[in-house]
């Protein structure tokens, strides 16, 4: 190896942090744009996707459901 490990890795750091920031910055702008478009053309009431019924898939909702089952069974067991 005729190159300097540290030198090269410093270059990688510059490249890497640059790409990471550019990527996330573009992502931020896209997220903002997307929010603007969606709130304008697809306000919450008229969502064409069938997520209304399946809002139960949200992880916290999921957890709540599991909790409910466990609670139900626990309660049932107590009654016995």
């Amino acid at each position: 190896m005729e190159y300097s490990l540290v030198g090269e890795s410093l270059k990688f750091m510059i490249l890497g942090m640059l790409i990471v920031f550019v990527f996330l910055y573009v992502l931020v702008e896209v997220m903002k744009l997307q929010a603007k478009i969606i709130s304008k053309y697809f306000p919450e009431k008229e969502i064409p996707v069938s997520t209304s019924a399946s809002s139960t898939t949200d992880t916290d909702e999921e957890a709540r459901r599991t909790a409910a089952i466990i609670a139900a069974v626990t309660e049932f067991r107590k009654k016995k």
Binding site: S9, V30, E44
Partner: protein
């Protein structure tokens, strides 16, 4: 109880015999290796007396293999194992593995992965059994899904199906904090290079340094994926370091967070997050994977699997599949991933100075990432219209969701009632994307 005496005397007879065997072993040593090979090749059973049977049985005990290590014993990859690695090395590894068990069970160190990894390590260090060879249980698992980097992707798919991008979508600019924390990766890359160049302690190549530095992403599957791709020989140490430090996030982060902020900053209350339209959540994984496709296709496997899981969940029409990804499938793959990674904890692979170096660099990586996140938080707070509590930058290192919880805890210690959890989840999940991007950059460099 006389039975006890009967059996005890049998046992003594056995012990006496084995010591004779040990004594006579010296004479046979030279001849035994080629003999064993010939016998193996022919695979024909030859008549033996009971005494010979017991002697040849003793030679296949693990105790004998550890006490009398021999030249030419090979590991699962067919490389010779040093005499030290065969004897004291195995003993030391068993001790390390029991320590890992202790940490996983009594201290709650990410047991879901550390326990199977450590058990895999235990099995990998059993002499004679050669369970890491291509026909052994661990070898089969390793070749099934780790050598080809398949299992980490399945785990990442499940993680995607468990991730909620709502907090990030409600406050997009916090994604930049998840970017800053990736300094943990690139900073430790420089650190690993410096350690190799300026000290004689270790001798990492650039590829190995890159593989190690991904520990700073605080993301198990990403670390394993990159290590399998760039430096499989370091996989065991990297995975153990990654999961250990992820478990140590509540210990490592708070002092750094407090050192870099003043009480006023830590008391900053952030604006309540807006409600996110489900359609935004649905489109988000597609946006991310399309951006990866256009900008950084080398990160496509990682982000593709992650986006697939998230999209399946948010679509709301394939709950069967998304629940499967989050439950049975991720559980099965976790068992196999742990065992397969553990197969790299063989004494001859793990007991090298490099492993210690990896531990040092891993700690550096977590610290650097935390610091960079907090500093970026301070910078953003200065330029932003709305107040930003710089603590949430620390969540950018990922370790989802633990780092976000740590932020919330430190924040509410400073100002009771100031719940930063949801605000910290934004940088937290952005940190996952950031790490995948960083991983892609490193992959693209070494392709």
């Amino acid at each position: 109880m006389k039975l006890k005496h009967l059996i005890l005397s049998l046992l003594f007879a056995f012990a006496a015999l084995t010591s004779t065997v040990q004594a006579s072993e010296g004479h046979e040593a030279a001849a035994s290796v080629p003999a064993a090979q010939t016998q193996n090749a022919a695979k024909v059973y030859e008549e033996k007396s009971v005494g010979q049977l017991i002697v040849s049985f003793f030679k296949t005990t693990g105790l004998n293999a550890i006490i009398n290590p021999k030249e030419g014993v090979k590991n699962g990859e067919g490389k010779n194992i040093s005499l030290f690695a065969q004897s004291w090395g195995r003993v030391l590894m068993f001790a390390i593995i029991f320590l890992l068990f202790y940490l996983a069970i009594a201290k709650g160190f990410e047991p879901l992965l550390l326990l199977p990894i450590a058990f895999g390590g235990l099995l990998a260090n059993i002499p004679i059994a050669n369970m890491t060879g291509p026909h052994g249980m661990l070898g089969i698992i390793y070749n099934m899904g780790i050598a080809n980097e398949f299992f980490p992707l399945l785990i990442f798919m499940g993680v995607g199906a468990m991730t909620d991008f709502g907090p990030l979508l409600s406050n997009p600019k916090t994604a930049l904090l998840g970017g800053a924390a990736q300094f943990g990766i690139f900073g430790s890359l420089v650190g690993a290079a410096a350690l190799s160049q300026y000290t004689g302690m270790v001798d990492f190549t650039l590829k190995q340094s890159a593989a190690i530095s991904i520990i700073g992403g605080a993301d198990g599957p990403t670390s394993i994926f990159i290590a399998s791709a760039l430096a499989p020989e370091l996989l065991g140490a990297i995975a153990v370091a990654a999961y250990s430090y992820m478990a140590l996030v509540p210990v490592i982060q708070p002092p750094i967070m407090r050192a870099l902020t003043n009480p006023e900053e830590r008391k900053i209350v952030m604006k309540t997050t807006r409600k996110v339209n489900p359609l935004e959540k649905l489109i988000f994984p597609l946006v991310v994977i399309m951006m990866i496709a256009l900008i950084l296709p080398d990160a496509a496997p990682l982000m593709g699997a992650f986006a697939l899981g998230n999209f399946a969940k948010e679509s709301g029409v394939v709950d069967r599949l998304s629940n499967e990804m989050q439950n049975s499938l991720i559980n099965i793959v976790t068992i196999f991933l742990g065992l397969g990674v553990g197969s790299k904890l063989q004494s001859d692979t793990f007991l090298v100075a490099e492993s210690l170096g990896i531990m040092v660099i891993g700690l550096l990586a977590f610290s650097a990432g935390t610091a960079a996140g907090v500093l970026m938080g301070k910078l953003m707070n200065r330029f932003s219209k709305e107040p930003i509590n710089p603590l949430i930058g620390a969540a950018g290192v990922s370790a989802v969701p633990m780092a976000a919880r740590v932020v919330s805890k430190v924040g509410s210690e400073e100002k009771p009632g100031n719940i930063l959890l949801m605000h910290a989840m934004g940088p937290n999940v952005a940190g996952v994307i950031g790490s995948a991007v960083a991983a892609g950059v490193l992959l693209s460099i070494f392709k």
